[in-house]
């Protein structure tokens, strides 16, 4: 590679046109034309520039040749100066550019490294934030559930005694009514009054048993009633829950069952029943709330074995759950039903129950199309049924 300081050749200093023009100008000064060449020829004199013979001059008279050679040497000095400066400038510019590029590369590499680090950092921060939010949420929920549970336990305890003696008293009162029937004269008026009285008592007993049911719900929800875990037959529990819901809705629901052969699992039968009932009750409510013809409403109850877990799927083609409500369905006391017709504890109980069984509840829903609730129950210590 040539550097700026390499000794220049005649070609480097003069272009062919410039050399031709110089020859012409010199020839004008001389008696005979002169020629400047790189090769030595007969009678030519050297043209020297900075200790270097850059060419040979022929033609003209002997004195003219020497004078012209000196003149060319003198001119070459200025040409060479310019050339040196230009070459140096070129070299330094190139070196600076290469240096800049190198620095640019280094900068890019370092920038990329920092970007990567910052992304990793951001990922870590996001992950930590998620963990903190989750923990916070769980803490909040458990604290809330604990307080709700305490409240419910208190209420349940207070109501349990009066409802007990009310229902027992009502039963005794009905027995007394039969005794009374034999004592009073059997006039049609009396009979009607007694029949009506008995109906009143029966309705009141129904009412108390519903109150007792709510109390039992609350007890389940607040885990007061810690009955021992036993072997459960999920299908049996499902069937009785379906039956209960049908009773509640005067057997007007179209519920189809598709139950697979399942092993018995260790679980809490009453809480599981409660859960199935709650979910079925929700499905029934969804069918009632939908815009379509009541006759179109269907509930599908499925059970199946998926590896080590039992899946219970309860699906309806009712009103579905709106986007806004979906995040809150598990919240205790969250309900979309009119005041007094729902406790807002159904799915909360369901979730807590499934958690207690190390399973989970998954809800897929589309407003206007329906809802599918999938309950997953792992078989720990399951036995063939």
């Amino acid at each position: 590679m040539r550097t700026f300081e390499d000794d220049p050749s005649l070609e480097d200093l003069l272009s062919p046109e410039q050399r031709e023009r110089l020859e012409r100008l010199l020839s004008d000064l001389c008696t005979e034309p002169v020629r400047l060449t790189e090769q030595k020829s007969e009678g030519s004199v050297p043209v020297e520039f900075n200790l270097e013979t850059i060419g040979w001059l022929s033609g003209g008279s002997r004195d003219e040749r020497r004078a012209a050679a000196n003149l060319i040497g003198f001119i070459m000095m200025f040409v060479a100066k310019y050339r040196l400066a230009a070459n140096l400038h070129h070299d330094t510019t190139e070196a600076s550019y290469a240096e800049l590029q190198r620095q640019n590369e280094a900068l890019k590499a370092s920038e990329a490294r920092y970007r990567e680090l910052s992304e990793q950092l951001q990922d870590k921060v996001d992950e930590q934030v998620r963990v903190i939010q989750k923990n916070q949420q769980e803490l909040f929920e458990s604290a809330r559930l604990r307080s709700v549970g305490q409240l419910a336990a208190g209420v349940a305890h207070e109501i349990n005694n009066p409802i007990g003696f009310i229902s027992s008293n009502l039963r005794v009162a009905r027995d007394y009514l039969e005794d009374l029937r034999e004592m009073v004269p059997a006039s049609p008026n009396n009979q009607e009054l007694l029949d009506d009285f008995r109906d009143l008592l029966t309705e009141s007993m129904d009412g108390t048993s519903r109150v007792a049911g709510i109390v039992s719900d609350l007890k389940t929800f607040s885990s007061i009633d810690q009955a021992d875990y036993s072997l459960c037959r999920i299908n049996e529990l499902l069937k009785s829950a379906v039956h209960l819901v049908q009773t509640e809705y005067n057997h007007s629901l179209q519920i189809s069952e598709r139950l697979a052969q399942l092993p018995a699992v260790t679980g809490h039968p009453s809480r599981l029943s409660q859960t199935f009932f709650n979910v079925l009750d929700n499905a029934a409510q969804a069918l009632r709330d939908t815009d379509q013809e009541p006759a179109q409403g269907r509930i599908l109850v499925q059970s199946r074995l998926e590896g080590d877990t039992i899946q219970v799927v309860i699906q309806d083609n009712g009103c579905g759950i709106s986007e806004a409500d979906r995040g809150r369905v598990f919240d205790a006391f969250f309900t979309t039903r009119p005041v007094g017709s729902g406790t807002g504890l159904g799915l909360t109980v369901a979730r807590d129950t499934l958690r207690a069984h190390k399973g989970n509840v998954q809800i897929d829903s589309r407003p206007g199309t329906g809802t599918r609730v999938t309950l997953t129950i792992p078989m720990q210590g399951a036995q063939e049924s």
Partner: protein
């Protein structure tokens, strides 16, 4: 590094005059141009200047022919001393065979000397040269100015470096310039002879080398 062209039997050496701005590098070269009478001497090429300050560099070629027909050339360069011309300084310094560091003797310029010397070290490293092995002479110029730093102090300060003794000079008056150059030739010969065997192959011994390249017009130059 020396540029040896076996076809032309030509060896070109490069000496660079380095130093802070306005320390007298160009003056050194101009004095050498007018004082020296070596076997062969070319034109002093003073490239573009602005306000008398070097923009690119100056260059003076001198030469010597050995008995073997060796065409020995020595190209003397100056660098621009001003800070902003660092890339030019680096380009001129590359492939140097020897360096003359021209320092300014005025007390106010000692920091600039140190900065320039640091810059020299740095640039030598960048162009792949080793300051500890490169033939180099340090000249303290401008001894003619009153109030300059005492020579004894300077010599003591530099005594433990490879560049002692320093050469005192007044380039403006032509004093010490040739001494500096001769000392450099002496140090340069040791390295070049080691590499090219000038003495055996080309019968250029140390004396021939120094005298042939630093012959001068006689008594106009004086020792300080």
């Amino acid at each position: 590094m020396p540029d040896f062209d076996a076809d032309d039997n030509k060896l070109t050496l490069k000496v660079v005059f380095y130093g802070p701005a306005l320390s007298g590098k160009t003056t050194n070269l101009m004095q050498l141009h007018s004082l020296l009478n070596p076997q062969r001497k070319g034109e002093l090429m003073v490239l573009e200047t602005r306000d008398d300050r070097t923009l690119f560099f100056d260059m003076l070629p001198i030469g010597l022919r050995g008995n073997s027909g060796l065409d020995l050339r020595l190209k003397l360069y100056t660098v621009p001393g001003q800070v902003q011309h660092d890339s030019t300084r680096k380009a001129v310094l590359s492939r140097a065979d020897g360096v003359v560091f021209v320092a300014d003797s005025q007390p106010s310029q000692q920091d600039n000397n140190a900065t320039a010397f640091g810059n020299l070290e740095e640039n030598l490293e960048k162009v792949g040269l080793d300051i500890d092995t490169l033939p180099m002479v340090v000249q303290f110029n401008k001894r003619d100015i009153p109030g300059v730093v005492d020579e004894q102090d300077l010599q003591t300060r530099w005594a433990s470096t490879p560049w002692a003794p320093l050469v005192m000079a007044s380039a403006l008056q032509g004093k010490g310039v040739i001494d500096t150059f001769r000392l450099l030739l002496d140090r340069l010969y040791t390295v070049i002879n080691g590499e090219y065997d000038l003495e055996m192959l080309h019968s250029i011994d140390r004396h021939t080398f120094i005298e042939g390249l630093s012959a001068n017009y006689g008594e106009r130059h004086a020792h300080l």
